[in-house]
């Protein structure tokens, strides 16, 4: 049976992992590789690296750290931020990323999704959606990486969820902006509504504050994965314990196992 995934999200700026308070005042958390290895050892099922400076500065992701991560960890990882073309996606995938995630550039030019899926296969193409409650349903927001430019895109979230799948998205990350950073739990109402429209894997993002929130999003919304940043970074929800609790509650989980280091014997 397919296990539910736990995905720490690491914000990367100038080659380091940072933590921002409301997108500002970034504090350096550590070196990319150190944190990647730490999460791998703790039993993370996948990692997402979000290059928070690439997109607003209109530059592409720095290949060097992607290559280092690809060579050092043995779990999958996705790179987000600053991917606006097939060529930029190719550079990141060839540097060793398993998937790429696209958000605002897909809103500006939806054909990009078709191009990426055709070139690399849907399984590499993740679409990130930043969504906020409106009077009637939810609306997609764009340029959310930059508080000065962040604004509504005019698209209805459920409609956009349908369109990105038709265009070839292989996975959707739904970041619920109402609950993001508040640590009061995932937006299960919105995630449930999106789940009904989403036939590809769905990743919940925004709001995790306690182990119970993960249990509820898996049980009530049937999401495939849950993404979180601060609760994992701060250690307030340690991944090994979270995995044990979810498994005890009947959620299919890849059990945490100690890392093995071994080398082939020379004969």
């Amino acid at each position: 049976m397919l296990a539910k995934r736990l995905i720490p999200c690491l914000d990367v700026r100038d080659g380091q992992v940072v933590k921002g308070v409301r997108f500002r005042d970034h504090v350096v958390m550590g070196e990319i590789l150190d944190l990647a290895l730490r999460y791998r050892a703790e039993g993370a099922d996948e990692l997402v690296f979000y290059d928070i400076t690439a997109s607003p500065q209109e530059r592409s992701v720095d290949r060097q750290w992607v290559e280092k991560v690809a060579r050092s960890i043995d779990i999958p990882f996705c790179v987000a931020g600053g991917i606006r073309s097939v060529e930029q996606a190719r550079a990141v995938l060839h540097a060793g990323a398993d998937k790429i995630s696209v958000n605002t550039p897909a809103l500006q030019r939806p054909e990009l999704i078709d191009e990426l899926a055709r070139e690399f296969g849907s399984q590499c193409v993740v679409i990130g959606i930043d969504s906020l409650a409106a009077e009637d349903g939810w609306r997609v927001h764009q340029f959310t990486g930059d508080p000065e430019r962040s604004r509504e895109s005019g698209r209805d979230t459920l409609q956009w969820v349908g369109e990105v799948q038709q265009r070839g998205a292989g996975e959707i990350v739904l970041n619920c902006m109402n609950s993001d950073g508040v640590r009061q739990g995932y937006d299960t109402e919105q995630l449930g509504a999106v789940r009904e429209r989403c036939q590809v894997p769905l990743v919940a993002s925004g709001g995790a504050g306690a182990a119970a929130h993960f249990l509820s999003v898996f049980r009530d919304c049937d999401v495939d994965a849950a993404l979180a940043a601060s609760v994992f970074h701060s250690g307030s929800v340690p991944i090994p314990r979270l995995k044990a609790e979810l498994a005890a509650a009947g959620i299919p989980i890849r059990p945490h196992e100690p890392q093995q280091t071994s080398a082939i014997q020379t004969h």
């Binding site: 690809a70 060579r71 043995d74 849907s122 399984q123 495939d224 890849r254 093995q260 080398a263 082939i264």
Partner: protein, 198 residues
Amino acid sequence: MPNLVLVDSGGSNLGSVQAALERLGVDAPVTGDAERIRAASHVLLPGVGAAAVAMARLREQGLVEVIRELRQPVLGVCVGMQILFEHSEESDTPCLGVIPGSVRRLQASPGVRVPHMGWNQLQQRIEHPLAQGLHDAHAYFVHSFAAAVTESTLLSADHGQSFAALVVRGNYHGAQFHPERSANAGARLLENFLGLGG
């Protein structure tokens, strides 16, 4: 020390597979050279993307017959496994045909999403040195196409249906999951493969 080569099948996971072998202390050069492939003790055929693209890449390099005639242990990974079969439904692609059977699209149904993406548990069907220590382990999968369970299937996994996760036919082996991204289980598979005799 095994003399392993990675066949240049154009997949974007080449570097990651190479790194996974390096972590085990094994140097794994990438090559499209027929002589070097024939001379290797172990041949690994990685693959990400589409079966048709991987086959075209082998054809361009004149490697289709070379791979079909190898006698040493060969391991195909993901799309590299799928092209070991006779045919893939993906773009109706004729494949290498060294393992009987064909590769079909996974069927989505309520609660069963395609692509099949994530960690899934392996179940042993047949005991074999390649599958040693992998029963019940979780491995990382990312794919929309899969081969059915047949008498070549050593390990299977379930995603709406049972499908082949690890297969063997003679000296040809295939893993649908990604050993380079499957943590301990992935390292174990590569070690098992390198332990196979020539």
